[in-house]
């Protein structure tokens, strides 16, 4: 690699927010033709560094050189003009506009003084196919699931012919096939000499794609390493700031293999539930003290099942038996009254309430269940909030920080905390560990398993197959809005799941 081909050189940049020193003398050096990993725990300052780089936040001190020239941006617009193409962590698209337009807005091809819609739609179809996705690009982006939206956002970033490509957790809700496709594209860009800054919490992906890694911890610069020369365990040690000896890499496989003392009691028995146009009739039983996983590809209908069970969408046919009694779950409120809880996959739109504080976000669901006239006292609120801030290790200067000021991973933890605080009987988790760092992910998985041992029934949805396998007692495999089969015990294995998904015969 050409050592002199330095595109961006960040030197001793600091950035403070009220109560937080988000970046403390951070350095980063990105070269052309490399993929550079930016690693760190939740709240380490990765996203902030990117935002400082692209001019969204002014930096307090420090210097940034772009191709050797001092460089100071005041807005992402300028960044784009300078050839920096950025995918920010939260999916930032315009929900009301079409997929095609989202990809090209701001630099639409013009013809005779007017936007050339034909070309936009044509180009967009081609562009999106590079990621192996085949969707109608004229539909509004909001009609697609989070994963697809993420792919659209990635496509937009890739389509900007730039010198620098910055990707902040692009893969957080993608499954293996999509990730592989994305990496193919990234490698090609790399060959073209583009510098790519890549943020992720998936260690495997870092080793698969990056050339060098910069590690941040609590806003401080820890070091820059060649990926090949940095053992995984050391990388994690740098990120967490612990001695490699004190922990083992196998943290993730949290499942206590000793079979739980299964009561075998059925909590939910779903029979032939169907919603036209979104989910074909399916049966499902969910037992107390058990984690049931849903596996499947993009758009296979996992989220749809969760929404049906939580009363967000109404079913057209079929019944739900709760503790053996037929129950109609007509609204989230009804579901919550049965002690259900639902952690949605789209945290920005359906999860957090940005302007409210961390404390308020945590206690809201509990308060909603208690009703208006049994308010939680200020002290009780703080107690609950503090308990979960500690339990989930949420990084925030105080519980009265507005939740929008938290890092992505910490926002996710707030949502989990919200539902744990309601002490539910049945917990639906849709991509619960999206954007959560390795250490915390293991903690959360442990927590979930612990809760299930106490009798909580859990429906677990994740695009990370590994995680599903590690956490679940049974797994239902979906394809094309249909449950194909159910695996349990020994049969839970990656290859088995893949086989079911790939099987041609739909009639099992």
């Amino acid at each position: 690699m050409d050592q002199n081909n330095v595109l961006i050189d960040i030197k001793r940049v600091s950035k403070a927010f009220p109560g937080v020193l988000a970046l403390d003398q951070v350095n980063l050096c990105l070269r052309g033709g490399e993929v550079h990993g930016l690693m760190g725990e939740n709240g380490a300052g990765k996203s902030t560094l990117i935002k400082v780089l692209t001019g969204l936040y002014p930096r307090d001190t420090g210097e940034i050189l772009f191709e050797g020239e001092p460089f100071s941006l005041s807005s992402p617009q300028e960044a784009a003009d300078h050839g920096l193409s950025t995918l920010y962590q939260e999916i930032n698209l315009i929900p009301a506009l079409s997929v095609a337009e989202n990809i090209y807005i701001g630099r639409e091809p013009m013809r005779f003084g007017r936007i050339d819609w034909k070309q936009i739609n044509g180009d967009a179809s081609l562009a999106i196919r590079k990621l192996d996705l085949d969707i109608d690009v004229t539909q509004p982006v909001s009609s697609y699931s989070v994963a697809i939206q993420q792919l659209v956002a990635i496509t937009r970033a890739l389509e900007i012919s730039a010198k620098v490509l910055i990707l902040d957790e692009p893969t957080s809700s993608l499954d293996l096939a999509e990730v592989a496709q994305l990496f193919k594209v990234i490698r090609k860009l790399k060959e073209d000499g583009i510098g790519i800054l890549f943020v992720t919490h998936f260690i495997d992906q870092v080793y698969e794609i990056t050339d060098r890694i910069t590690v941040l911890r609590n806003g401080a610069f820890i070091g820059e390493y060649e990926t090949q020369k940095l053992p995984r365990i050391e990388l994690i040690a740098h990120m967490l700031g612990k001695d490699p000896e004190t922990f083992s890499l196998e943290q993730t496989a949290g499942k206590t293999q000793q079979e739980k003392t299964k009561t075998g009691q059925t909590l939910l028995d779903v029979k032939q539930l169907e919603r036209k146009g979104s989910m074909m009739a399916f049966d499902l039983t969910i037992n107390k003290g058990e984690v049931l996983g849903l596996a499947g590809l993009l758009g296979s209908g996992r989220t749809e099942i969760a929404r049906l069970l939580f009363g967000i969408d109404r079913s057209h046919k079929g019944t739900i038996l709760l503790d053996g009694e037929e129950t109609v779950i007509s609204s989230p409120r009804k579901a919550i009254s049965h002690l259900f809880a639902f952690c949605p996959e789209n945290r920005k739109e359906e999860g957090i309430i940005e302007d409210l504080t961390v404390r308020e976000n945590i206690i809201l669901a509990l308060q909603a269940r208690q009703g208006i006239f049994r308010p939680l006292s200020g002290r009780r609120q703080s107690e609950i909030a503090d308990k979960y801030i500690e339990l989930l290790d949420i990084k925030t200067p105080s519980d009265s920080q507005a939740v929008k000021n938290l890092s992505g991973g910490n926002q996710q933890k707030v949502i989990i905390a919200r539902w744990l605080a309601t002490e539910p009987r049945f917990l639906i988790l849709d991509e619960p560990t999206r954007g959560i760092d390795v250490g915390a992910k293991a903690e959360i998985q442990k927590l979930i398993l612990g809760l299930s041992e106490d009798g909580l029934a859990i429906l677990f949805i994740s695009s990370e197959l590994e995680e599903v396998i590690a956490c679940c007692d049974r797994i239902a495999v979906l394809r094309d809005r249909k449950i194909l089969s159910e695996l349990s015990g020994e049969a839970i294995e990656e290859t088995n799941i893949m086989q079911v998904i790939a099987s041609k015969d739909v009639n099992q």
């Binding site: 807005s75 992402p76 617009q77 950025t86 009301a96 506009l97 509004p140």
Partner: protein, 322 residues
């Protein structure tokens, strides 16, 4: 025949359907209602409302609002009249100055909204007070405009046959609508307004020129308000400081009836055109009815508004279900 219905267009089609329905109802109920002349009158009488409504559509799509428009119409009209009447300024020059000032007025409001992050509601409310106040300062009295050039413009028109006549003001309305459609669908400026209104944060992160677009939107609307002021003063051949009190609500109503969401991010100029015509039609209905007392007039306007909106919702739902 298989109609290719895009999901997005259903509300717009529903609005058009509502318009046709009432027009039909009127034609059945009242003689002389179904005539080219009554139809063209909708464009003539509502030209100034329509011109602003086009600008307001952009403002509302960008997630803002502009309450100052009615006052700016009055200010522009009275200022132009004053310049012509008292200082003998040539009408073309007087009108141009007003258009420039209107655009500037809008731009200042846009800057306050963008740079100081003040709520549009408040800034434009202040703009409404200010413009009205300035109009009073220019003249407390209504000022007649008597100038051969103005008269020539007023008398200019295209005969359409059937005793109907398309005057300059209506042509301005139609031209502005066409320009609006072009800006909205075929320019980056237009598309950016959608982005800002749908999610300003995302628009910033996507590197769109948020500040420029926002200021431009208010500038454009200020310009169109002044243009509406010119249209209004041609329509009445005078300038009147108390003109168009409460017009902003009519305009917003027209835009919203046309299917634009007040929360920003969606809507169509074409829808607004229909919205303006629907409001005009309600009035035509009432004058043709001709026996309503003042209070029943208000109640009936309210009821008709309600019925149209219900009908529109019902039709778009029914359309979406297919």
């Amino acid at each position: 025949m298989k109609l290719h219905l895009n999901q997005k267009n259903i509300p717009l089609l529903a609005t058009i359907a509502v318009f046709l329905l009432i027009y039909l109802a009127g034609s059945v109920l009242y003689s002389n209602f179904f005539s080219l002349r009554v139809f063209v009158n909708l464009f003539i009488d509502n030209a100034f409302v329509g011109v602003i409504a086009i600008g307001m559509t952009f403002v509302i799509i960008s997630g803002g609002i502009d309450l100052s428009v009615g006052s700016v119409v009055a200010l522009a009209g009275v200022l132009a009249a004053k310049m012509m009447h008292d200082f003998g300024v040539h009408p073309i020059l007087a009108f141009s100055i007003c258009l420039g000032l209107g655009a500037m007025f809008g731009m200042i409001m846009g800057c306050l909204i963008h740079f100081f992050e003040l709520p549009p509601f408040l800034v434009t409310l202040v703009g409404m007070f200010l413009a009205r106040g300035l109009a009073f300062l220019v003249s407390l009295n209504a000022i007649p405009i008597k100038h051969p050039v103005v008269n020539a413009i007023i008398d200019f028109g295209i005969p359409l046959g059937f005793r109907a006549w398309l005057p300059a003001t209506a042509m301005i309305f139609i031209a502005v609508t066409l320009v609006g459609i072009y800006l909205q669908h075929y320019t980056r400026f237009g598309r950016n307004t959608y982005a800002i209104g749908s999610s300003e944060q995302s628009a910033i992160l996507m590197g769109l020129p948020v500040g420029r677009t926002k200021i431009l939107v208010y500038t454009f609307n200020g310009f169109l308000s002044a243009l509406a002021g010119v249209v209004y003063s041609l329509y009445t051949s005078s300038g009147y400081p108390l003109a168009c009190v409460g017009l902003e609500l009519d305009v917003i109503a027209a835009v919203v009836i046309g299917g634009t969401l007040l929360s920003g991010g969606s809507g169509y100029v074409a829808g607004t055109l229909i919205g303006v015509l629907i409001l005009g039609l309600i009035q035509t209905f009432i004058t043709f009815q001709g026996t309503l007392s003042s209070w029943w007039t208000k109640i009936v306007i309210g009821v008709l508004l309600f019925v149209f909106i219900l009908l529109q919702r019902y039709l778009s739902k029914a359309g979406a279900r297919r």
